[in-house]
Subunit: 494 residues, 2 copies
């Protein structure tokens, strides 16, 4: 089939552009000096244009159409890839090129203004940019609307296929009804931060322990490195080049320990995809929500468990010796599971975290539908925040301006964070039927957990939709009750 | 002119591929883990193929032809660029595309094998790769041969335009006749290495002093970083992203100090090119020889001078305190200018250095002509080495495996190193007519030297041929006597 041949050739090029995206992103966030980034971005925009032209190439489109018409004859992974590519080619073509590049320019200009606004707590500085970004996203929902998705659903689908407002509404309703009252009760009294948690631990010591944790999680350092950056992240291409970063705060060692567990969770997912998907357009994770479910599974369900620290706390004590000598494992586990109402999402604990997301979800819904206007955002944010958390942000830097996502135009992204936590809990429930997760950690590594997740989730990569993978892995559809049950059970013990 | 418009559009894409080459090379030598390199090389070969297609695109070729025919109407820099591009398009078309991309893949795979072979001293591990690399380079000389260049000349011209075997033979003849006897005499008796030079100085201290040196050389860290790698190198794209690496040996601080001066010399050249050449195909240095002349100018003529250390030695003493407390500046300068027969080119002193290059030049000549085969390399190397230096490498890591260049297929590159030293001496002679170089260093920085080199050499970038720039800068053609005179005068003082 000549169309297949052409498709596979073009796919090689598109994959090579994915490699470039990976590498330029990695570089910008790690090595590139401040003055270099603007210079380099000029090259990157030329490359982005080349990639756009590859995707919208008429001959490529014709081949994708032909393969789509005959998709029943293709093997399963390729059939899925063709379905996804068919939609992405059609979608890309629906966005007027001039609007697309104007939006690229707009967000490029908006970013430094956003940074300035956040630094000075001045929302009005950023407002005109955000207003135009929101207007573009509203138009995007019109260009891309279909029988199955309209309005905000169009954006949600870009980050989590098949996860519509109807599904998210049901999810957040459960959180609102069952979790909000529980959180209010648990955060009413906050224990003070113990002094030992804020002692100075030098970077080299933290790195030594983080490398130990990487080994505990069985990450093979022959296929990726652990580096430093302002904000921790994971990035990779295929199964053989998967890299993570962390940020060491000398007066908050707990931060780097858990960000390494979190990022190594993402990395384990990437590493355990079936290598035959390398170089296809279906490598990597199935969706943002599914990816986040893996990082949160390792960070919260494994990494914050007493079973985990019963094994590894002595090592932590010995690497940091003598600084944790008088601190028991129970105290340590208690501290990393404490809960309190706080303003900043990225610093929130496991229990209060989803409420931060619920707030953003509601705001995005109203912004995209036109029910809420950009100008009214700070007031609305603070009102809702007070309602859910019982505290009011003292300024917009700690409120509506705290996250960068909207400056990039990433509306529809936030809800996947909460979805990830909920999927993790559902997977944990299913895993626990097969073996005793906590007991398996006594072996000293997460090997058994890794193996289960590889077989049930990771190996598929993006060769199936995330909801289908969840069904295969757990035997049922997404069910947020597991998440709320897990949280209430865990925090009732504290 | 429509052809010019098309050319400028295509140039943007070609520049973007230069950016990719820069970034993938940087990544492979710094962050990429051993297991990742092979995986990434598959993407790189697809990209190399795309770049090849851009260069050989018939419409691009037609435009280049049209512009070449009308080159007298173009401004000087663009005219030069069109001349160079006209040749490069013609040359590229002569290389079969499948061979070209297979070679890209081969060298990407060869690199980690080379590293392993060097680490273990096992030449036979690397031999099959090197054998294929040599075979490709021999074919390359056939594909690209012309009336003006055949055989090894084809490769030499790729690194140093207009510099043929006839010229190099004449150059090395001068060295052989005037320098070899002098070197034999000077290295007959070797002073023992003083204990202070081999004391352990921790990496962090070395880095602190190297950062000081970077400031002395006026390198703006906002436009590039200093990192570590196995083999120090400089890499950049345009004037705003220029990066260097070094290698810290805890028992040899002198090594990292001079490699940083050397690499910052390269970086200063890149940084001082006229920024209007950014994004053209004539940015960066004029040739490898000219580039090396700059690194060696700073490393040897400036960095090993007593005038330089009279200013900066107290800082070295204070950063490394108390380890150099009893060592005078005269002792230090004497040590960094001592000469002896040694095995490793990169650690060789200024006087013996060109003999290391002479050896490689002769070997390359024979390898490319077919007079010598890869399998016989270690034996031949050791025999010739013993002849020139009077000592025999104890293993291949200190012999034929010491340099990475051949793993990249860079035959024809080495001779430019010796050429660079000779050009540096010729520039020093010209500079000294304009101002007292040693006195200018008393200011605490190399600002005056930088300014002279910017005006006479750097600003041109690659918008002129190197021999033309040398004539403009010094008022005469290449003349190796300045080099030999300089070396003999300097080492007769010791």
């Amino acid at each position: 089939m000549k169309e297949l041949e052409f498709y596979l050739e073009q796919r090689k090029k598109l994959s090579a552009f994915n490699y470039i995206d990976f590498l330029t992103g990695w570089d910008a966030q790690t090595d590139a000096a401040a003055g270099s980034i603007a210079a380099d971005s000029a090259y990157q925009s030329v490359l982005a244009e080349m990639e756009y032209k590859l995707t919208t190439d008429p001959e490529f489109e014709r081949c994708v159409e032909a393969l789509y018409a005959n998709r029943e004859t293709l093997d399963e992974a390729l059939r899925h890839e063709i379905e996804v590519t068919h939609k992405s080619v059609a979608d890309t073509k629906k966005i007027p090129m001039n609007e697309y590049s104007a939006f690229g320019e707009l967000t490029a200009k908006a970013y430094p203004v956003y940074v300035e606004a956040k630094l000075t707590g001045n929302f009005r500085l950023f407002e005109p940019y955000l207003e135009r970004i929101v207007r573009y996203c509203r138009k995007l929902t019109v260009w891309l609307e279909s029988d199955s998705a309209k309005g905000y659903d169009v954006l949600l689908d870009m980050y989590e296929p098949h996860f519509t407002q109807a599904k998210y509404d049901a999810f957040f309703d459960v959180l609102r009804n069952r979790l909000v009252p529980f959180v209010k009760q648990k955060t009413a009294r906050v224990a003070p931060v113990p002094q030992w948690a804020k002692q100075k631990i030098e970077k080299e010591k933290q790195r030594e322990f983080c490398e130990y944790i990487r080994d505990v999680m069985c990450f093979d350092k022959n296929f990726g490195i652990m580096k430093e950056s302002e904000h921790p992240f994971t990035s990779g291409i295929g199964t053989d080049d998967v890299r993570i970063t962390t940020h060491y705060y000398e007066n908050d060692f707990v931060s780097s320990v858990f960000s390494v567990i979190h990022e190594t969770g993402h990395a384990t997912y990437e590493r355990q995809v079936d290598p035959k998907l390398n170089g296809t357009l279906c490598g990597g994770g199935a969706s943002l929500g599914m990816h986040e479910s893996q990082s949160r599974f390792y960070e919260n369900i494994i990494g914050r468990s007493e079973a985990f620290w019963r094994v590894h706390y002595p090592k932590l004590q010995s690497v940091f010796a003598p600084k944790l000598d008088g601190v028991s494992v129970e105290e340590f586990v208690g501290y990393v599971n404490r809960t309190e109402a706080s303003f900043v999402r990225t610093e929130a604990d496991e229990l209060t975290y989803p409420l931060h997301i619920m707030l953003r979800y509601e705001i995005e819904q109203k912004l995209i539908s036109g029910e809420l206007e950009t100008a009214d955002l700070p007031e609305y944010w603070n009102k809702k925040f007070t309602e859910y958390f019982g505290i009011t942000p003292p300024n917009d830097s700690l409120g509506v301006l705290q996250d960068v996502h909207w400056a990039y135009g990433d509306f529809g992204y936030f809800p996947t964070y909460a979805l990830g936590s909920a999927i993790a809990a559902q997977l944990y429930h299913a895993m626990s039927k097969d073996f005793n997760v906590e007991q398996s950690l006594a072996s000293g590594t997460t090997a058994r957990v890794n193996a289960w997740l590889k077989e049930r989730v990771h190996k598929y990569g993006a060769s199936k939709y995330p909801d289908e993978i969840l069904r295969l892995a757990t035997g049922e559809d997404f069910n947020p009750d597991y998440y709320v049950n897990y949280l209430i059970a865990k925090y009732s013990r504290n």
